[in-house]
Symmetry: C2
Amino acid sequence: MDELELIDRFFRPLAGEGALGLLDDAGFVSPSSDRDLVVTKDMIAEGVHFLPGDPPETVARKALRVNLSDLAAKGAKPLGYLLALAQTPGCDEAWLRAFCDGLASDQERYRISLIGGDTIASPDRVTVSITAIGTLPKGRMVHRSGAKAGDILYLSGTIGGSGAGLAILQNRADADLLADDRAQLVLRYREPQPRTDLAEAVCRHASAALDISDGLAGDADKLASASGIRAVIEAQNVPLDPALSQLFGHGFSLEEALTGGDDYEILAAIPPGEEGGFKEAAARADIPVTAIGCVEAGGDRAVILKDGQEMAFSHRSFVHGSH
Amino acid sequence: MDELELIDRFFRPLAGEGALGLLDDAGFVSPSSDRDLVVTKDMIAEGVHFLPGDPPETVARKALRVNLSDLAAKGAKPLGYLLALAQTPGCDEAWLRAFCDGLASDQERYRISLIGGDTIASPDRVTVSITAIGTLPKGRMVHRSGAKAGDILYLSGTIGGSGAGLAILQNRADADLLADDRAQLVLRYREPQPRTDLAEAVCRHASAALDISDGLAGDADKLASASGIRAVIEAQNVPLDPALSQLFGHGFSLEEALTGGDDYEILAAIPPGEEGGFKEAAARADIPVTAIGCVEAGGDRAVILKDGQEMAFSHRSFVHGSH
């Protein structure tokens, strides 16, 4: 199938405003005058960020959602995305159909559309690069660097589930999990849930935020380093995926939950005066948020305490493809 | 080297406005209220769009420039870009240094900067995906679809040189070329020259335009199809790279020049009343432009005439990686 036919049959139905039916050299974005654009670009590759044999619709969703997660953490509402797909000979019509179905359902879910992109042939490895574009009021992007002493650290959802899902898929975790729990953890790894609906609350109330993609410990370090503060987190306050307790001692540990990848939750620093507003906005968005620690002056890293002692980790950040 | 060190040592010096030092989840663009943004995303892969062993600085420039070429064809001035690099174990410090030097010199040349991106590990194949962002006055993007009967077709520069450069690198073309001509053709393949300085002339005067990346014949078909017109081109008027004549009959042909890839010239449809203005603007930008044909009503493809007869081609479009 040549590229024109590929676009015509599979990708054109995904094209939205500014995409010109994917028939042009480029797409366009016409932002209203009171908005900034937030742009982010993450690439995922077979055997590194997803496993050979992962369902194509989950590969598509993962590629898209890791980018939407970045937008949410900056307080931006997603607008659209560009896609570059390096496809192998194994990407037959059924694969492409499922891949595009995965994108289509997410376009509806997150109210976005495809603006442009590229497809190339790759002999041996599927690679997906997505650039996502979001908007927010001018000058209001939430940086990693704005946390101040006295802010409270809030985390959305739960962590550890995705790392446990990967451990299960790689046969490293061996508990006799209930089938439902197993499926839910694997889904957590394959299909992150970007906190798009929390973006407005982050934009209005957070002094700093980032998304947890490489493990809570290492990502909290990044927030602390960018802000020039010490992030103090109480491990007992960190909400873990409920299915994890069955795995602890069976190939998976609390340390792995705190340093595993692909959680895609948001860690936000909320000034004391904004706490009420943030919690109310999160509740309206139906997203659980939990206070897990606080910001102290001085330092440039995170400290995770358990029973009053700082936890030590062999690696604080998850490196994709290292397991 | 972990990703933080990689960013710190190699990519941070490339970061410009909106990139936040590449220390955040995303970058931002704050366009002025009278501008639209044009966005394009092309991916290139080792062994498909460039050859293993190509100098890393030319790989970087090619990845960037194929995108800048799209912007120029739409009449947009480049603003910045996002980069995703899948690097192999062979991408050592010297490789990365040269790759980033290639980007740095082009940033200066085209007055752009890096806004954001991603680096991932790839076991076996360097892949570079770039999203370029340009700006132009609101509503003024030049589409492929605007050509009207009576318009004159103009081509920038010359074509065929890049295809000949690839044929030389692949030992398919065997003429006893002068060393200078050989080097110039190979450079043409490795380092396209996007017609950035022609963008304003295109924006002001063209009814339709696109960049020639997959061969003049096939790309003229695309303009014709999008506009619902017949593009009639006289082969004798098409300016060819001057070094080509030495190769004709020695493994390279006029047909290959008209259907080879990677020319990155601009084909523009200019209404008769705009011809003077377009030629003057091109001359001010110091870019040669040549009238190569005209637009006729009806049809949806290009016709390339030689001695009054339509030329036949085994393939009208170049497929990257097919040679």
